[in-house]
């Protein structure tokens, strides 16, 4: 019962603030609502007993990436942008395509019996006290089974770092 209340609480916050993220005119407000959505998702991770991912979400997404976003938003002057047109010209076509996508995925979920209220109970599958210690389990999996993807991810981050420096550097 507690699990359900927590899930509905965080899910409602996540969806509402996601909608506000894409509709707000002011970009800083968008960023704030995106932070709220990410924190709500972190709450859902915690409800799924993925503690390590919960804190990674907070440290990396909220404390790292979103700080970068807010920083860039403040560097580029946005007093002008607030007064400009919010949505692109093709918004109706775009909406239509997105809704078609939603209908398609929804249909797939429905036909395989995965609509809300159906499907296997997630939390009952493995009881919470039978789970291994989360951060230890993740570390084991990450450094034993998925060592090569881990190395590739670090190379990707290195490339991204170099790319960001080259991009943002002033050409003299």
């Amino acid at each position: 019962m507690l699990d359900q209340v927590i899930f509905y609480f965080f899910a409602a916050i996540a969806v509402i603030s996601a909608i506000l993220t894409v509709t707000r005119r002011n970009v800083v407000h968008s960023a704030i609502f995106l932070i709220t959505a990410l924190l709500a998702t972190a709450g859902i991770f915690l409800q799924l007993r993925a503690e390590f991912l919960f804190i990674v979400q907070i440290i990396l997404y909220v404390g790292g990436i979103m700080v970068l976003f807010v920083f860039v938003i403040m560097l580029v002057n946005l007093d002008v942008a607030v007064r400009q047109l919010r949505f692109a010209r093709q918004k109706w076509v775009a909406l239509l395509i997105s809704l078609a996508l939603a209908a398609q995925v929804g249909l797939m979920l429905w036909s395989t019996g995965k609509m809300p209220g159906q499907g296997v109970p997630v939390l009952a599958a493995v009881p919470a006290d039978k789970l291994p210690l989360n951060s230890e389990a993740v570390a084991k999996s990450l450094f034993e089974t998925y060592l090569l993807p881990f190395e590739i991810a670090s190379v990707l981050l290195l490339v991204a770092m170099i790319g960001a420096v080259v991009m943002a550097k002033k050409r003299t």
Binding site: D3, Q4, A14, V15, A18, T21, V22, V27, A31, L34, A37, L38, T41, I44, L48, R49, A50, F52, L53, L60, Y61, G64, I65, L68, F69, V72, L75, V76, A81, R86, A88, Q90, A94, L95, S98, L101, G106, L109, K114, P116, G119, V120, P121, V122, L123, A124, A125, L131, N134, A137, V138, K140, T145, L157, A160, M161, G163, A164, M167, A168
Partner: protein, 100 residues
């Protein structure tokens, strides 16, 4: 108890909202933020399935996706700063020159 469908549906909702944001907004920063929403929606699905099957592989892949999101945000924001320095705009439909 909560069935898997709840989580999948939440992921779907966030994904669609993200897609709508990407295709309709003009501001590139908001577009990047919508992409973060999409990646996040995928993470919810991965973690829910990881819990369902009692296998942490899903969480490991969610970690990779977060690393990917960090890389994407860094490069994307770097491009935005470089572009803003030259053109004084962050609107995607004004990015219409191949060389400047």
């Amino acid at each position: 108890m909560l069935p898997i469908g709840h989580y999948l549906f939440l992921g779907l909702a966030l994904f669609i909202i993200g897609v709508i944001g990407v295709v309709t907004r003009r501001n590139v920063i908001v577009i990047l933020m919508s992409i973060e929403l999409i990646l996040n929606a995928v993470n919810i699905n991965l973690v829910a399935f990881s819990r369902l099957y009692g296998d942490v592989a899903g969480q490991v892949f969610a970690l990779f996706i977060i690393a990917d999101a960090a890389a994407e945000a860094a490069v994307g924001l770097g491009i935005i700063i470089a572009f803003f320095r030259n053109r004084e705009t962050v609107l995607e439909d004004e990015m219409d020159l191949l060389k400047w």
